[in-house]
């Protein structure tokens, strides 16, 4: 039977088992929205801004193992989506974005709402397509899903001109597609695995450094097994939190700019570092020359060869799917009789524990007068039993959430690590809540970030999403203010948020419950009350200490061992 391009799009989504898509209609996608209207298998979530559609699809993907799907119109629809797409790209999130385009005959004529979607998104997608023939719609969408979720995942854009979505052809959904120029890797090279195992066993000061790749690959169980089998210290990057249980004694916290003292020092002074699905980002290892001053052997496992030896020299590169490679490593370790030298390991742990003491752990000076933001996160952790999905925006609150909420499971911590996109948290939480109905979803944000996508409170009302929004309101763009205090002579240029709205009234105007919390003694009762309201979105406006800073801190351009602790200032 012949179907229109638009009907084919929806049929393809059905075939892919897509339950929810996030989008916003417009002229170029009218046929697709018409096809959507005439079925009920694919449910559409109408956001209030296209950026939020992408973040919602992103949160949906991050908190499940599924591909997020978004649908936007041409021109401003796609340009609004670009920030979301770049966010997903930097964090390697599997996503398919379908965008409308002006009709093929109008392309290049500066038509109404025309923008070169493929051109504008090219640097921030894994791949993109412009469909020029209705016969190509189904195979292109199949390819898009395949590309998005295989290999190193990422967003894939399919741009469909309006006339193509109205042309007709026979619908056949290909069972699988082959792209001759694209062959994602599987197992790691067995010789490299043997070399890696040998190096790990001979290490005197070993360190396991895992990143977002472990979470994306679904390899948290393998990582946990490896860490326990070897008995080494383990750190998870901001993107990798939950890859190894944060409450375990072998976990030394997050490394990098706002990592723990012990994680930074152990990264710097280990003699063998095994990086698993992590990429030696500037926020993790700081100054690359400083990092290279200490000699250490590096084993790097990643699905993407271009992540290896990009910023640091690597002794044993292993390219492969992390799940398979870790299985290979575990098998190799179990087959061999050799174990890490117990006395070497004991003296290394002694050193790490000394750093733990010197760093003093994550700490802050609590107050009975003013709410400390860290205290709110600690209470959030307690009240949710450490089992919530926590999304965040970007800034100080993000770092405090990463530090003080101990993630024991992967896919629970949802944040924009690579691009650092303010406005990510609330729409991401919508996607998380939809794919995890009944789960506790908290959005940790600030009064700056929340205002970048606050209109989504309306979407939350329409679709009954009982997200708990914790806004750590310090009246400042806190991270900017912190840098201005440390590095710009206390000149708080444009970082004070004047004329803030009454967030309680705002939440109420959107039909939600708003609560303002001024006193530390109210933090716990309010959180308890809010989380007891299982069906309601509750917006909590915590009036927090505006002078609080995030510690420890490795200043930009500095090395890991130059980490500043709270008392150093």
């Amino acid at each position: 039977m012949e179907l229109t391009g638009a009907e084919i799009v929806i049929r393809c989504l059905q075939e892919e088992g897509v339950e929810y898509i996030f989008g916003y209609p417009g002229g170029a996608v009218l046929h697709i929205y018409d096809a959507l209207f005439q079925q009920d298998r694919v449910k559409h979530i109408l956001v209030r801004h296209e950026q939020a559609a992408i973040h919602a699809a992103d949160g949906y993907a991050r908190s499940s193992e599924k591909v997020g799907v978004a649908l936007v119109t041409s021109g401003p629809g796609i340009t609004n989506a670009v920030t979301g797409i770049a966010t997903a790209y930097l964090d390697s999130i599997p996503m398919v974005i379908i965008s409308g385009q002006v009709p093929t005959f109008a392309i290049g004529e500066d038509a109404f709402q025309e923008v070169d979607a493929v051109g504008i998104t090219r640097p921030c997608v894994k791949h993109n397509f412009l469909v020029k023939d209705v016969k190509d719609v189904s195979v292109t969408i199949k390819k898009a899903f395949y590309l998005a979720k295989s290999g190193r995942p990422g967003p894939v854009l399919v741009d469909i001109p309006k006339d193509i979505s109205n042309h007709k052809t026979d619908f056949i959904y290909p069972g699988n597609v082959c792209i001759r120029s694209y062959n994602p890797v599987g197992k790691g090279d067995s010789k490299q695995i043997k070399r890696a195992v040998q190096m790990l066993l001979e290490a005197k000061r070993p360190m396991i450094y895992s990143g977002g790749g472990v979470v994306l690959a679904g390899a948290a169980a393998q990582l946990t097994e490896l860490v326990r089998l070897l008995g080494f210290p383990c750190t998870n990057t901001l993107m990798g939190l939950g890859g190894y249980p944060a409450t375990d004694k072998q976990f030394v916290g997050m490394p990098g700019m706002h990592g723990t003292y012990e994680a930074c020092m152990a990264m710097q002074y280990c003699d063998v570092l095994i990086a698993i699905g992590a990429r030696f980002d500037d926020r993790v290892i700081g100054n690359v020359e400083h990092f290279a001053q200490v000699s250490r052997k590096i084993i790097h496992i990643d699905i993407d060869p271009s992540s290896i030896a990009k910023r640091v020299k690597v002794d044993v590169p292993v390219v492969g799917d992390l799940k398979l490679v870790l299985d290979q490593l575990l098998a190799e370790l179990r087959n061999g009789k050799q174990k890490p030298d117990a006395s070497d390991l004991a003296s290394w742990w002694k050193q790490v524990d000394e750093w733990r003491v010197k760093g003093g752990g994550l700490r802050y000076k609590n107050s009975t007068e003013i709410i400390k933001p860290q205290y709110v996160i600690e209470k959030l952790y307690e009240i949710t039993g450490g089992d919530a999905f926590v999304t965040s925006d970007v800034g100080q609150h993000q770092m405090w959430a990463a530090q003080y909420y101990k993630f024991n499971k992967p896919r629970r911590w949802i944040n924009s690590g690579g691009l650092g996109t303010m406005g990510f948290g609330l729409p991401a939480a919508m996607g998380v809540q939809l794919i995890n109905p009944g789960a506790t979803v908290a959005c940790v944000t600030g009064e700056g970030s929340i205002q970048m996508n606050i209109q989504e409170l309306s979407t939350c009302k329409q679709f009954h999403l009982p997200i708990k929004v914790l806004s750590l309101n310090n009246r400042y763009l806190g991270m900017v203010r912190q840098w201005q205090e440390f590095f710009h002579g206390n000149r708080y240029s444009e970082s004070y948020m004047d004329a803030l709205p009454d967030f309680v009234k705002l939440a109420e105007a959107y039909g939600h419950i708003g609560m303002r919390i001024d006193s530390p003694s109210d933090v716990e009762p309010v959180l308890k009350e809010a989380f007891a309201r299982k069906k309601d979105l509750v917006f909590m406006d915590f009036q927090t200490d505006p002078t609080e800073n995030v510690f420890p801190m490795v200043p930009g351009g500095k090395g890991l061992s130059e980490v500043i602790l709270a008392e150093d200032l």
Binding site: R122, H127, L130, S181, Y182
Partner: protein, 163 residues
């Protein structure tokens, strides 16, 4: 160091801009880029002349391989290879007539492919370095116009880049 990188990619709209965009986005140099379809019309062959440290060249190779449209990449500079570039140079007729230019032309194996009352167009095919030498030999003052294709490269002997 100068490298000549050859690649095979899908002959599709946008494939060239993905490669060119990669170089500009990541701050890599492109000295020249030559591209045309192969005997298989679904594939294009591209030759890129670039330069950079070993680490940068390694990244360029990896990043090119990562592009979905790129089917195969070979750094020709890793082994024996040939490179040829085509150049067209237009000079004034009276300059073309002088003996010194004729001598230079014959020693560089160039040939005249067009003559008018006032101009003369010369064709040369050689390595990029040889073409540079030619231009230096005849001098800038004589040149009305220069067109170069950028290098095309191929492996020597059994070094073959094919799908």
């Amino acid at each position: 160091m100068r490298h000549i990188i050859s690649l095979l990619m899908e002959n599709e709209a946008g494939a060239l801009s993905r490669v060119a965009g990669l170089f500009s986005a990541r701050g890599y140099n492109i000295e020249s880029l030559a591209v045309a379809p192969t005997e298989d019309p679904t594939l294009s062959r591209m030759t890129i002349v670039t330069s950079g440290s070993d680490a940068v060249i390694e990244q360029i190779n990896k990043q090119l391989n990562k592009l979905i449209d790129v089917a195969a990449v070979m750094d020709l500079s890793d082994g024996d290879h040939l490179e040829r570039e085509l150049m067209l140079v237009k000079v004034r007729s009276e300059d073309a007539a002088c003996d010194s230019l004729k001598r230079i032309l014959s020693s560089f194996h160039g040939r005249v492919i067009d003559e008018s009352n006032s101009t003369c167009t010369i064709e040369l095919t050689d390595t990029c370095a040889k073409l540079d030498e030619f231009l230096l030999a005849i001098g800038r003052n004589m040149i009305l116009e220069t067109v170069r294709t950028g290098a095309s490269g191929i492996g020597r002997g059994d070094r073959i880049l094919k799908l």
